[in-house]
């Protein structure tokens, strides 16, 4: 579904992504883990077209989307739920959702009400707040709105940048439950997460990004068992355990 070949990108002369290759198969949940500053957000922003790649190729659905503008990429069915939610805070919940349907063009306009009803079924709390300004929602509700808005574009691939950031553990579990549900409904997901244990727990495969390079990849269970991953990202100090 998504194939990235030797991708390089960054800001100005600063190279953040240095030759990343990865792929996501249809129906998979793939997680990218990495420390702060490893380039996770830059990678997703480059795929979604917000940042232009300096070299390499991005293939979505056997179509080369490298260098395509963000508004074009999303209309092809590859949507990003950006870091920090980025809802339209001065607009109502319902308006946010209506705007989410924009990438599908005029066809979707007539079906918008039905689609909104569908995402309200996934996120009942948004239904209760449909006339409230998005900026007045709690962090968890804003994250749900950001995901719901992305769903309105009827995407095949959903990329999520740190969906659990700054949320209470109970909300994080709810969000991850929704991610699993989306996969069961046939969506493909690419996650970027600091919360490596939970993200790898629900995903099929994972990549470890360090200073702009993929240093490790494999099935999620293998990564969860990997000693380096455990030490660096899962907060387990194995050396200390062995000494005991």
């Amino acid at each position: 579904m998504l194939r990235i070949i030797n991708l390089e990108s960054g800001y100005g002369s600063l190279r953040v992504i240095r030759g990343v290759s990865l792929h996501v198969n249809p129906g998979e949940i793939v997680t990218i883990i990495g420390a702060n500053g490893a380039g996770k957000t830059t990678l997703l922003n480059t795929i979604s077209g917000l940042i232009r790649a300096t070299s390499g190729r991005i293939i979505f659905d056997s179509r080369d989307v490298t260098g395509l503008a963000a508004e074009k990429v999303v209309s092809l069915g590859c949507v990003l739920v950006p870091e920090g939610r980025q809802v339209f805070s001065t607009m109502t919940v319902k308006e946010n959702l209506l705007l989410g349907a924009c990438p599908r063009g005029k066809r979707a306009a007539g079906r918008a009400d039905k689609d909104i009803e569908r995402v309200y079924n996934i996120f009942p709390r948004l239904r209760e707040r449909h006339n409230q300004l998005a900026g007045t929602l709690s962090g968890g509700e804003q994250q749900m709105l950001a995901i719901a808005r992305a769903l309105m574009s009827d995407p095949r691939l959903i990329m999520m940048d740190e969906p659990s950031m700054g949320l209470a553990p109970v909300i994080v579990r709810e969000i991850f439950g929704i991610i699993s549900r989306l996969r069961r409904e046939g969506k493909t997901l690419l996650l970027v997460e600091q919360n490596a244990r939970m993200a790898l727990g629900i995903s099929d495969r994972g990549y470890v990004l360090e200073t702009g390079r993929i240093v490790l990849q494999g099935p999620s269970e293998d990564l969860l068992q990997n000693r380096d991953v455990q030490r660096a990202y899962l907060g387990r100090d194995l050396d200390a355990e062995i000494r005991l």
Partner: protein, 296 residues
């Protein structure tokens, strides 16, 4: 002061207030999609009326107003495409400086095209001396045109921004440009559209007020200052609040001539602008909640 005179002052204040409000709404439209203040807004008003006056020499009133408004609208688009669109990092300060520069440029061009002469469109109905009696006051029929056309534009704009997809897209660009792009919205086109829209309503306003206020190459500056004051007074970005703010400022100005020299009339609006910016930057009608969600 008799009741009649009092009402007459109120009527004059409301008329000017609505004129200011329509300029303020021009500010609001561009602010609402880009988050910047277009200080060339007053120049759109001037261009609309000056072009209409020139066209009126060769065609009837209505077509000349329509054509002038359309021409001004395309000038608005041209300005955006030439000076704003290609900017790589359009910071607020940079945009403000560019629009101030543009307003000077347009004014000087107007001076060389039309000269310093004061002109005016004819009264739409009646003439300078005809008047309509409403209750105890007598007003010029042109005042009714100004009030009617401006209120109509406010109503249409409200509907456009809140109930049409295109209007919502424009608001989305203001709320969060990155998220707007991720929703498939071409933000650059929306900015062009907002310049066209505010040039259009500025030009229409310029045409309807021309018979009362007269038109001159530099009429835009004063209107822009008043309009900006009203936009801030009401609460930046809110058209209905601009209407309220405009009427408040218009009435204050109109009564100010009663207790101080009329030369100080313009100082009133600047004083109000400063007081509002210090005391209540969200404006009279702006909600603090909404203001807190905006970055500028």
């Amino acid at each position: 002061m008799g009741v009649e005179l009092f009402l007459q002052y109120i009527a004059a204040g409301v008329t000017y207030g609505i004129i200011y409000a329509i300029v303020a709404i021009g500010f609001n439209i561009i602010y609402n999609t880009t988050g910047i203040i277009n200080f060339a807004q007053g120049e759109f008003v001037m261009l609309g009326s000056m072009i209409a006056i020139s066209l009126h020499g060769v065609m009837p009133l209505l077509p000349s107003i329509v054509l002038a408004s359309v021409v001004t609208m395309f000038i608005g688009a041209l300005i955006e495409v030439l000076f704003i669109r290609w900017l790589k990092s359009p910071t607020v300060l940079r945009m403000i400086i560019i629009t101030i520069g543009l307003s000077i440029l347009i004014r000087e061009l107007a001076l060389s095209i039309w000269g310093e002469g004061v002109r005016a469109l004819p009264y739409f109905t009646g003439n300078e001396v005809s008047s309509v009696e409403i209750g105890m006051i007598r007003i010029s029929p042109q005042v009714l045109w100004v009030v009617g056309v401006c209120l109509f534009m406010v109503a249409v704009l409200q509907g456009f921004f809140h109930f049409t997809l295109l209007g919502r897209k424009m608001r989305a660009c203001a709320a969060n440009p990155v998220a707007a792009r991720l929703c498939g919205i071409n933000t650059k086109n929306m900015v062009t559209l907002s310049f066209m829209l505010s040039a259009l309503i500025g030009a229409v306003a310029g045409c309807v007020v021309s018979p009362i206020t007269y038109s001159q190459y530099n009429m835009g500056t004063g209107l822009a200052i008043k309009g900006f004051t009203v936009a801030i007074l009401g609460g930046l970005g809110n058209s209905l609040a601009a209407l309220g703010g405009g009427i408040v400022l218009g009435i204050l100005e109109s009564f100010s001539v009663w207790f101080m020299p009329s030369a100080y009339k313009d100082a009133i609006s600047i004083a109000i602008l400063l007081v509002i910016l210090f005391v209540r930057p969200s404006g009279l009608f702006g909600s603090k909640e909404r203001m807190a969600l905006k970055e500028f």
